[in-house]
């Protein structure tokens, strides 16, 4: 072994980052050594013997493509009789089928079609989201093409697709990120810089992506290394890549032809990828190109994800490679290799009904982007209990709480709320995706404004209204915020008005809650005792006063006080129900604050709500029914315009309110709500010991 390679091995064993020359030297190591090193790094990043997979379907919306890449056996030029654009009926059938088969998402890709407008793609995404499926869609060459065609620019195209509900972007079309190779391979396609730029833009908008590498054609190993280093560098800056997926070029039926590289070179490349990409959490096997046997063996060469139970794979199938694997088969392969299979979604969050409980946050959930400088932070240390790495991961109670970089205040708000701050150019630190003992939390976006750091979490998801009220995981969200050191929460919500004085477009700072919901969980301690606590006042009095003071001079009418009646949802209430709530003293009706506020109090968080009225509740003002629009006509156009004015001002308003909340000094008892249980010894001093 030469000196560089020896240094590389030493550095890997010590958990240090490889220099470009050392990365290059890895290629000469023997396969078993590379494998055992990659496996070691894999267990450092993911100490559990768990291998994840996603259940999704590959849908190619069109095979008509202007690009004509030489390695592609799938495309047809415009005008070719074999060209197609998928019809809505066909799409609907595939989507329904996917749901039936337990799929959670769609991998949506297609050729570069000369005359489909951007609205076609937006509709496509929204249509798929309508089936409750995630959309992992449009690789960078497609995005570049849309941007070019629509004249809108990358950022706007991405933003529009996100607004339509796009979940994440697949890393296809990366091939080899060296223009020398690309010119020969796919001259009509996005350049390496363009590919990277799409990813960077997406990451900065809060959209996660994967990255791929197609190798084994014209490139050298040095070019493969360059590809990996380019990804590592971008990941250092944005942290937005979830996974890396290398796969081999399949020559059958392509203009390029030649021989496919073998399993040996595939595994070698996989292992080198794991070793060089120390900052991308997941590494995925490509069973589509390698077959089930090599894919299984690849789990010993650094991979921790088995990819998808792809129901359809047109692009690779066109080259004559037709490996098919069912969910049962993937579960069997993972289990027989000695790992626990776990289904995930496209954001690498465990899908419910899983074999094992999710564990607290660790490297795999990771910071987005990484907070510490990459040097020396390459990977956490191996867990105690041997190199085998099958010990359970530590629950993470050893670090101090609150953390030294605690975020004092958080905003829980509507869909995609963080975008208001991105658009305003507020300094963005990135997002955190935390797994808690109560499951996966929604992403937490961290911003900094005038020395104040604050967190933003969207209750109902990031893009569409993908998590309706009864399905919000309040416990996970609050746990995640508390983990980050948050002590004060501003809950922004959009109720209807029962009290006619509170018209749409008005702001209300409620003072009490009337809980008419039927669906918990209402406590962090089911069946354990703690939770018998007093709720007078419900909302933190100190924050309420600070909030009202800060709202002085705000352009919208503000009501100090109101009773928020909470219902379960997701449906709206009936006339009779509103009448009942009115008789009981309700002023507002909504589906968000309960059980959120009560759970926040169990974690001893100061919590205050700011409501903006979006409509009159059913029966309060007579309104004709209008199918197909939001609230089915419950709000008039004029009212909606007023509500939109509030929404437009939300970001600016929040930037004024949050500092006031962060600096409120009046005394409150919120941080001592569980004091009685502490004194009795039922709960420990450190809140993180409360949940075994």
């Amino acid at each position: 072994m030469d000196r560089l390679a020896a240094t590389a091995v030493e550095k890997i064993l010590a958990g240090e980052r490889l220099s470009p020359m050392e990365a290059l030297a890895l290629w000469d190591l023997d396969l078993l050594l590379l494998g055992s090193l990659a496996r070691r790094v894999r267990f450092r990043l993911h100490p559990e013997r768990v291998v994840t997979f996603v259940s999704d379907r590959n849908i190619n919306y069109t095979n008509i493509c202007l690009s004509g890449c030489r390695f592609c056996a799938f495309y047809r030029p415009p005008g070719h009789p074999g060209g197609y654009v998928l019809s809505r009926e066909e799409l609907a059938r595939k989507l329904a089928e996917t749901r039936e088969l337990g799929g959670t998402g769609i991998l949506l890709q297609g050729g570069l079609h000369p005359d489909l407008p951007l609205s076609f793609y937006e509709d496509l995404v929204a249509f798929i989201r309508g089936y409750g499926l995630q959309v992992h869609g449009f690789s960078p060459p497609e995005i570049v093409f849309f941007a070019h065609q629509s004249g809108l620019g990358l950022k706007e195209v991405l933003r529009r697709l996100m607004a339509a509900g796009l979940t994440s972007i697949p890393g296809g079309g990366a091939e080899i990120l060296c223009d020398g190779v690309r010119r020969l391979l796919s001259p009509g396609k996005a350049t390496a810089a363009q590919w990277l730029q799409v990813m960077e833009t997406a990451h900065r908008l809060g959209l996660r992506t994967t990255a791929t590498m197609m190798f084994g054609h014209l490139e050298t190993r040095a070019e493969r290394t360059e590809h990996l280093l380019k990804l590592r560098e971008l990941q250092d800056r944005t942290g937005g890549f979830t996974a890396f997926i290398p796969w081999t070029f399949q020559p059958g039926g392509t203009a390029l032809g030649g021989e496919a590289v073998g399993a040996h070179e595939y595994l070698r490349t996989l292992a080198v990828s794991r070793l060089v990409l120390d900052n991308i959490p997941h590494l995925q096997v490509s069973w589509v190109t390698q077959g089930d046997k090599v894919a299984q063996v690849a789990l010993e060469f650094g991979a921790d994800d088995f990819g998808s139970t792809m129901i359809e794979e047109n692009v690779v199938a066109a080259t004559g490679v037709t490996f098919r694997l069912s969910r049962e088969e993937i579960v069997r392969l993972i289990s027989q290799a000695g790992y626990t299979p776990r289904q995930r979604d496209h954001l690498y969050r465990p899908v419910e009904g899983n074999i094992r409980e999710a564990r607290p946050a660790q490297a795999s959930a990771g910071a987005f982007p990484p907070e510490t400088p990459p040097e020396g932070a390459a990977a956490p240390q191996p867990p105690a209990g041997g190199e085998r790495g099958n010990s359970a991961c530590p629950p993470g109670t050893s670090a101090p709480w609150p953390p030294p970089d605690a975020i004092p205040v958080a905003l829980i708000a509507r869909v995609g709320a963080h975008r208001d701050f991105l658009d305003r150019g507020v300094e963005y630190e990135g997002s955190r995706l935390l797994t808690t003992p109560f499951g996966q939390a929604n992403p937490v976006h961290v911003f900094r404004q005038g020395g104040l750091r604050f967190a933003v979490l969207s209750r109902h998801g990031e893009a569409g209204y993908e998590v309706s009220a009864p399905f919000v995981n309040d416990r996970a969200n609050l746990y995640a915020l508390k983990t980050l050191g948050v002590r004060r929460i501003l809950a922004w919500c959009a109720p209807g008005a029962i009290n006619p004085a509170m018209a749409p477009g008005h702001l209300v700072v409620p003072h009490d809650i009337l809980d008419e919901t039927t669906h918990g969980p209402y406590t962090f301690f089911p069946g354990r005792g703690p939770g018998f606590i007093r709720h007078q006042p419900v909302f933190c009095p100190s924050l309420r006063r600070a909030l009202l003071a800060a709202l002085e001079g705000c352009p919208f009418p503000v009501h100090d006080g109101g009773v928020y009646a909470a219902t379960t949802g997701p449906r709206l209430e009936t006339v009779a129900e509103i009448r009942k709530l009115k008789l009981l003293g309700g002023d507002l009706v909504g589906q968000t604050l309960v059980p959120e506020v009560f759970l926040a109090r169990e974690l001893e968080l100061c919590y205050v709500a700011l409501c903006y009225v979006v409509n009159f509740a059913e029966g309060v003002a007579p309104r004709p029914y209008q199918p197909g629009v939001l609230f089915e006509g419950l709000a008039t156009e004029e009212e909606t315009a007023r509500v939109q004015a509030v929404e437009a001002a939300f970001g600016e308003l929040a930037l004024k309110l949050l500092p006031a909340l962060a600096t409120a000094t009046e005394e409150c008892f919120c941080s001592r709500l569980m004091e009685r249980y502490r004194r009795r010894g039922d709960l420990g001093e450190d809140w993180r010991t409360w949940f075994p």
């Binding site: 396969l31 299984q296 085998r388």
Partner: protein
């Protein structure tokens, strides 16, 4: 690097590592430890140490022709997709003319071995077999004939009313060069009662092989794995082969055969996994310390796994097979032939040096 770090991650393998380094014989428990370890790379590393010690970087292949003269079989083993009862619409038998035509059709190719196996045909006369060998030798005088598994030999002996030794002598005179390793299945009476009750017993199989060895004929040995057998039964199988080899020394190559369930009486089973294939190769290399060669038959496990197996203990990946019926009736998804360049490229990519051999592992240059 030859130390156990970082290759071995399962501490249970360390005692085996010590034995391998000291070139000590492994026992039954070691075999089970290897099989049960989740540490595929660790097991592969141990096997690779032995493989390198014996063969360095060399990886053998052979240019051969396969001939399955008939699929008619009286045994009806449950794991077999090849054998068919006489009269079955899929049953076939080749006439001697057909056989010779197949040989003639490839006379221009540098074939060094003809590999002949078939079912247990109830009424083809012994002379058919003798004529087959003689006729092929006439067409290709220098070719090596590796023909008839121990199971077929026992069957022919019965048909001819001869002893096994006399049967082998007669065939040898007609041109037989060596015996392929098939029909060993798993040496477990439990499995054989369930899957192939009519087949030649393990004792019978070993006896034919050892008789052949005493007559100067080399033979191969196989193990059919991935059906109903336990890991203990696999290890016992290997130990019985090792003991027989200690006595007669005539085994040349061991070939693990992955079970293909499609179109067999066990089609409800899953096919073997990559882990199992590689581990079986590796364990065989480690347990069978007196077998010169371990072959991974690429037709059975596919070229990708065969290539990887060269790093997990195998030193041979069989041949440039053009026609091979047995596995393909059982639905193997692998191509039916690989050209020489493709085979050599596969081997080179695995960091080995391709060496073309004849049946007895003489290097062809």
């Amino acid at each position: 690097m030859t130390g156990p770090e970082p290759y071995i991650s399962d501490a249970a393998l360390l005692p085996v590592y010590d034995k391998v380094m000291a070139q000590e014989r492994l026992d039954f428990e070691d075999g089970l430890t290897l099989y049960r370890s989740p540490d595929l790379l660790g097991v592969g590393f141990l096997a690779n140490l032995v493989r390198r010690r014996l063969h360095g970087d060399r990886a053998y292949y052979i240019y051969n022709q396969h001939l399955n003269y008939s699929n008619v079989c009286v045994n009806g083993c449950r794991f077999c997709a090849f054998g068919k009862p006489k009269g079955d619409p899929q049953a076939y038998e080749m006439s001697l003319e057909e056989i010779f035509a197949k040989i003639e059709a490839r006379l221009h190719e540098p074939i060094t071995e003809i590999h002949i196996v078939g079912g247990l045909h109830p009424d083809l006369p012994f002379s058919y077999y003798l004529e087959m060998l003689r006729g092929i030798k006439r067409l290709r005088p220098t070719v090596h004939l590796q023909a008839f598994t121990c199971v077929e030999i026992a069957h022919l002996a019965e048909l001819a009313g001869l002893s096994v030794a006399d049967t082998l002598e007669a065939l040898k005179e007609a041109g037989l060069g060596s015996l392929p390793g098939g029909g060993a299945e798993v040496f477990s009476s439990r499995i054989r009662r369930e899957l192939c009750p009519r087949k030649l017993s393990p004792e019978g199989w070993l006896q034919v092989a050892q008789t052949a060895h005493r007559l100067g004929l080399r033979t191969n040995a196989t193990m059919l794995y991935g059906h109903l057998e336990t890991l203990e039964e696999r290890v016992e199988h290997l130990l019985r082969l090792r003991a027989a080899q200690d006595e007669t020394g005539g085994f040349l190559t061991f070939i693990p055969l992955a079970f293909h369930p499609a179109n067999t009486g066990l089609s409800h089973l899953s096919h073997t996994t990559g882990f199992d294939d590689l581990k079986t190769i590796a364990v065989a290399r480690l347990m069978l310390d007196n077998f010169p060669h371990i072959k991974s038959f690429w037709i059975m496990i596919g070229p990708k796994l065969a290539q990887l197996s060269l790093t997990f203990g195998a030193d041979d990946i069989d041949g440039t097979v053009i026609e091979e019926r047995i596995t393909h009736m059982a639905g193997a998804q692998t191509p039916t032939g690989l050209p020489r360049q493709a085979l050599e490229r596969l081997i080179r990519e695995a960091g080995c040096e391709p060496v073309e051999r004849d049946t007895l592992y003489n290097v062809i240059s």
